[in-house]
Symmetry: D3
Amino acid sequence: MSDSYFHPVSGFDLPRFAGVATFMRLPHVGLEDPRLSDVDVGLIGVPWDSGTTNRAGPRHGPRQLRDMSTMIRAQNGATGVRPFEMVNCADLGDVPPNPADIQESMKRITSFYDTVLKAGIFPMTAGGDHLSTLPILRAVAAKSPVGMIHFDSHTDLFKDYFNGTQYTHGTPFRRAVEEGLLDPQRVCMIGIRGTTYDSEDRDFAKSVGIRVIPIEEFHARGVSDVMSEAREIAGSGDTYISYDIDFIDPAFAPGTGTPEIGGPNSYQAIEVVRHLVGVKIIGADLVEVSPPFDSSGGTAYLGASLIFEMLCVIAPTLRPDTATA
Amino acid sequence: MSDSYFHPVSGFDLPRFAGVATFMRLPHVGLEDPRLSDVDVGLIGVPWDSGTTNRAGPRHGPRQLRDMSTMIRAQNGATGVRPFEMVNCADLGDVPPNPADIQESMKRITSFYDTVLKAGIFPMTAGGDHLSTLPILRAVAAKSPVGMIHFDSHTDLFKDYFNGTQYTHGTPFRRAVEEGLLDPQRVCMIGIRGTTYDSEDRDFAKSVGIRVIPIEEFHARGVSDVMSEAREIAGSGDTYISYDIDFIDPAFAPGTGTPEIGGPNSYQAIEVVRHLVGVKIIGADLVEVSPPFDSSGGTAYLGASLIFEMLCVIAPTLRPDTATA
Amino acid sequence: MSDSYFHPVSGFDLPRFAGVATFMRLPHVGLEDPRLSDVDVGLIGVPWDSGTTNRAGPRHGPRQLRDMSTMIRAQNGATGVRPFEMVNCADLGDVPPNPADIQESMKRITSFYDTVLKAGIFPMTAGGDHLSTLPILRAVAAKSPVGMIHFDSHTDLFKDYFNGTQYTHGTPFRRAVEEGLLDPQRVCMIGIRGTTYDSEDRDFAKSVGIRVIPIEEFHARGVSDVMSEAREIAGSGDTYISYDIDFIDPAFAPGTGTPEIGGPNSYQAIEVVRHLVGVKIIGADLVEVSPPFDSSGGTAYLGASLIFEMLCVIAPTLRPDTATA
Amino acid sequence: MSDSYFHPVSGFDLPRFAGVATFMRLPHVGLEDPRLSDVDVGLIGVPWDSGTTNRAGPRHGPRQLRDMSTMIRAQNGATGVRPFEMVNCADLGDVPPNPADIQESMKRITSFYDTVLKAGIFPMTAGGDHLSTLPILRAVAAKSPVGMIHFDSHTDLFKDYFNGTQYTHGTPFRRAVEEGLLDPQRVCMIGIRGTTYDSEDRDFAKSVGIRVIPIEEFHARGVSDVMSEAREIAGSGDTYISYDIDFIDPAFAPGTGTPEIGGPNSYQAIEVVRHLVGVKIIGADLVEVSPPFDSSGGTAYLGASLIFEMLCVIAPTLRPDTATA
Amino acid sequence: MSDSYFHPVSGFDLPRFAGVATFMRLPHVGLEDPRLSDVDVGLIGVPWDSGTTNRAGPRHGPRQLRDMSTMIRAQNGATGVRPFEMVNCADLGDVPPNPADIQESMKRITSFYDTVLKAGIFPMTAGGDHLSTLPILRAVAAKSPVGMIHFDSHTDLFKDYFNGTQYTHGTPFRRAVEEGLLDPQRVCMIGIRGTTYDSEDRDFAKSVGIRVIPIEEFHARGVSDVMSEAREIAGSGDTYISYDIDFIDPAFAPGTGTPEIGGPNSYQAIEVVRHLVGVKIIGADLVEVSPPFDSSGGTAYLGASLIFEMLCVIAPTLRPDTATA
Amino acid sequence: MSDSYFHPVSGFDLPRFAGVATFMRLPHVGLEDPRLSDVDVGLIGVPWDSGTTNRAGPRHGPRQLRDMSTMIRAQNGATGVRPFEMVNCADLGDVPPNPADIQESMKRITSFYDTVLKAGIFPMTAGGDHLSTLPILRAVAAKSPVGMIHFDSHTDLFKDYFNGTQYTHGTPFRRAVEEGLLDPQRVCMIGIRGTTYDSEDRDFAKSVGIRVIPIEEFHARGVSDVMSEAREIAGSGDTYISYDIDFIDPAFAPGTGTPEIGGPNSYQAIEVVRHLVGVKIIGADLVEVSPPFDSSGGTAYLGASLIFEMLCVIAPTLRPDTATA
């Protein structure tokens, strides 16, 4: 059982619209806080979108995700899991980016995650644009390459943008493969769709062994079959989960910079997470929530709900003794 | 055939954006109006949300539902039913709540419905938050407990809120069972999902025999199978229909206070109503439309469309002689 | 291969949020431009909604469709088609309507399309309300009646509105049949739903042999089966494609004047277009995008995506030699 | 004292967000209603914008003005006037326009006002675009030309639009002068500003003796001085008041189709009305409220407040015996 | 000088869109926190709107005020005051209301402020609707009645609502006078305007000696003259400042439930605060910010700016030794 | 007289909501277009916001400014100037930024303006964030330092951000002074206000002789007096005009990233431009319009109106022979 210090504030004690908004109403435990060593799962914001080549906004993602996450309660209605009672969860605050310096920002992110990992904390990230995942992987996969299950409408595998720019939200996984952070044979990308500049990204995927499952295949085979293959690809090794909110159809998730029509609905969006049970997850993120394109917060609420679903898969693996029957 | 006085204003005579907005463009017949005795089906607004524990707004529901309902035409395109020609429908206006006094408001609601029922009018309600249903049931089920088919993402069966508060929009059906207004064995709740404080509500349901069909089961079995069971549970006795707009996925119905992702789409939202044919319905409501969270009115339009679909099921039962071939 | 003059500006050269917004970032080639004779496919705006009987707004459709179309890239991710490399596409600008004179506006539209067709250009229209299609058909079907595959929630086959008004967005195809522009036996209408004034439109359809596929049938049979029948009905003759954005469910396409709930999702919206391969298309439109009801532009982005999908079906038929393997 | 039947519903009896929305919560008295003969002041909606050459929307004005007018209470806080107790006010409903036929619509409007005037009712109009005023003047000034005090950022005096179109919202007062409905020597236009096609409108004004007070002069002289001149121009004869909401700066009134920056603030917007005391007003309107450009309703609320202020000036002239001390 | 623990996070260390949002980016110090005893000024949220008789929403005020307050920097550009360096300021969190129980909520509020005052902390409140001020005054004026300078468009002095309801946001100051919390001779209400039910509130004001300055007088005399009188009325005794955001014109502050047109602009809104220098302020609030009516947050930003201005007046009085030259 | 090729499309020929949106409906003349040499005034978009340290968005400014500028007509209603008939104006398109590389983007901007200036074209810029002005000044002031009249709520004179970052939208004029692009003695900054980190910027201003006029002084002295001083400071030398939209109060211009309350209204916003007559203007910009924070476009419309006002001041100086009487 978790330490009660790390239990979220209940909506019965303080209504859900009230109080300082932290992720899931968890205590805010900064990196210098003595409580840090007690944390099992750290929810971390990366308020950064300098890698965005199209419509910016994910810098505001963590704030709105915190806000909407206050509507999340204690227990998963479907699976019965109560993650906050199984492990000590905390809001570790935001990595401080420098919005006008990409390289500096990436260094700060990696450094923040180095500290988190050193403290033995599982990092659950709320982005930020997808370039955020690269400096996170530099910490998470510092010792050896990891596998990845990646939900997205884009591969983010492009070589460069604007004729030579290496670091954008369209290139993180190309860099991650080049830097030896990802084991391409253990990477599966699900939901890919939309118009493309060309096939260079998918040609690269093929050449290194990354499995790309386009949306047409996803809709034809169904969640269960696709996720079964994804779990097989990830295998038993350390695996990172990267969930781009634009994986989901823009009717359900309008608040994102580069939407692509024809995606999964919100039920499928949950289902793919529930099918991650059995994967050895060592880090996860939910990225590309862009509040300026969804002032109602519906996209952030969907994102917060998905983070909760991820926690319900992750928590039992960290404290298998506490698992609900 | 209905009295032509009760025919909605046609969009061919007065464009649908024009005119004083009443429900379905029906005549406004107040409780003191001599025409009241001619009314078969009364559309009633309950502009009240004092039982809301989270984000308020349904007090504005009836107004926006009236506004958007002016886009509804005379005939059901799928079933051919023309409800306004079968029975005399009218807008009975709004129950006057006291926004600062819950008990007083509940008394006023019950009293309003007593009058309506005494006049032999079928009450079709536009909420209001879900606590509205409790004082309505106090009138509708005054003589004996009724069955209920309940579409919602929440059971609204909690014992209390905030450590002892008995009357909120999360408790109406607990109270209704306790007060003998509902026959729990004839109650079926469909679409339940989302995070929960705990399982106290569903434990209670089980203990009294209320059937709860969670969304996972709904998606797995499909509308037809689920509704077949629901009709069986309701049986041949008097049955109330309570339709919370948050039953539907928030992409389709963002305008509500406590959305839960992963719900049915708008086609399924209609289908469940069409499968109510055969149930002995003695009252119905559509609640929790919250305009402040959907300034475009799309949620209210969906709600108005569902009220129309309900009328198309109800009207033939009131005047079986007028049923369309 | 197409002339490089007609290639869209790449997002790698000029970010997609930048630059003067033309359809798909294609060159703007007006009717007096000497380049006109080189154009194979002309994207044309009809910023006109004087035929709208309910909520106006499609006059703003072309502008917003241009804006959102700048997010479309070069290649179809699913089919690999690169339409802009196969044929010379250009933005021909907008037909100048007279917002206060319906007859005059229709004359101007027909005249504009006469010029376009005379230049041998395939007309791909961005509306405008659905009355726009009538003056377009007067040009396109000037010599002999054409077939039509029509995606919509309404038949637009009414005899008149407001007791005698012949030209509204609810009547274009009644007029088109009367004027001999459409061969009713080769017309198929898909997705029809919603409340109706009466059955007069569908009675007329039946009387002249137009096939109407209501949404219930669409959902029951699925895209592939329905589209197979549609292709058969259209046969091998010249066929016009008319796509009303309200064919799609309002959760996906809120930005339209007369939404009807229960429609297809965005994936089905794409799929129906992809199933048009094999039809002899001689003109196409995407109408009823109404920006005032969707300030975020999501509906226009969906519309622009569908225009792109149509181009991917049309381009290979115009230059069969360039088709992608 | 007025008949209590014509008293608005009090917010103390029914909260202001509740109930069927009529203008000022007054009873709805249609032209066939026997109560019509008791009405002193009729609030009339003209939901029509077919004369709009730019961004449409005022067809939705009356509905939203009704909605927001339910926030208006019984008494003018500044002047103490209680108009609804002085004269019998009622909501006469909307004139039914034909959105696809300008001439037919104008005929219907004139006919509606003929009936109203014949019944001895003062017509207080909620538009609608500014072309609405022309058919109203045809009724109001049927016998002899009237004077006019006109608040607007445009003169609406143009000869024609689109090379020959005579009836648009930019031409009503040119037509009214030509038709002998306005006595140009008794017309004063206040607040004129913004970019212009040319000076043709103001040249015409000068040629017939219409006084145009541009916004620069308004700001320099102040409300009191300008209104003193306006009253003098109107003199003691019958005078119509036409108030275009775009008279006010778009920060205060964004919901309009053709905003011009640099206008009066909301306090000045009220003040000009209060300075109308002493004018012999025989009809008034508030036009060009366009809800699609202000979903929050702030513009409509401002418009409703101005209609109330006009009623507070008009009522004492109709029943001088009832004037507040 | 203040303790550096209580310095806001600088935008140079963590960009202003980043981090957990507390008031002014100050540390969150709950009532049980040992740091509480070091706090000089406590910023307190009262997320409660159960007293709202019209459009609800202020329950969401504190959250959005926190969010927008992160754009406030360290120093007053006009006066040079750096309040956070003069006194120890902290975010004390929100009072937990019971949204479904008015009396219980008022008890909780008074109890919270009792604790705050006992700790010697100056209470700076972010509402909440205006009924919040009553339970605050019960703590603040527990020993003897206080004076009050009140910025508002309403007097909030009504006897009751809905025929007998004593506790609403329209009655707090009537109750406060009755309960001996306010010394009416030392109360000044500024900016009063709008339509009214009747004059009962102002008659009461007159009868007990409360000075009401209507907006007409405010605009005529100007800020400096009016505030000079207000300071004189408040005199040298303990004075509470209550600032209802609807004091300001709705173009500047649309996010409120009961707007009244014709109010001050944002510059005057600041100026009145700056003219409070010299008043012996013992508590202050900023109430009625209603986020559902201003999704952009502009009203909350204005509110946060005003709270900062108030702090710049208050801080020098608490630590006169630290005042900036 | 200007060449008719450079006349905007009239709203009488093509309604203002129609057509491809270019600045002021002028022809689009790219840098490679042979017509470039005929252009007198070039309207240039800089869709770039990488220097933004707070809320991003101005990258979308040029697109929305083009859109809203289509509502601008031919003639200044107040001054009678018809700029497009006096000089050849054209839309030169957008400078292509690299959103992920600040230095590269600045090089591209300077290079673009070098070409424009070499062609003898007056550069009228639509930003973009305020860092855009630095690379523009590098071209405009390449030979010798220029004076500047700067409307803004911020000085943008900070030394660096985030502890060492030199190039942000808060530092351009510090850099410009250091680089010898501005003659500080001939620089006047008007409207400065809001909270500040410290006084470092204003201390620097004082040290180099830049005149800063805070908003309090602006409101106290009035437009005419302040602008008289500004003209004197600028003197007779080459002067650049930089107009940050956040100079204006956020009620009038909400669509910007760093609003500060208490600013000028829209009439004063125009007036300051009209008082620029007599200044030797050699370049001008309107920056920081951020569409994500104003989806209605009102801010962009205000911005477009101000660009037009600037053109009305500039055009007569370029072709003094054509000045209107």
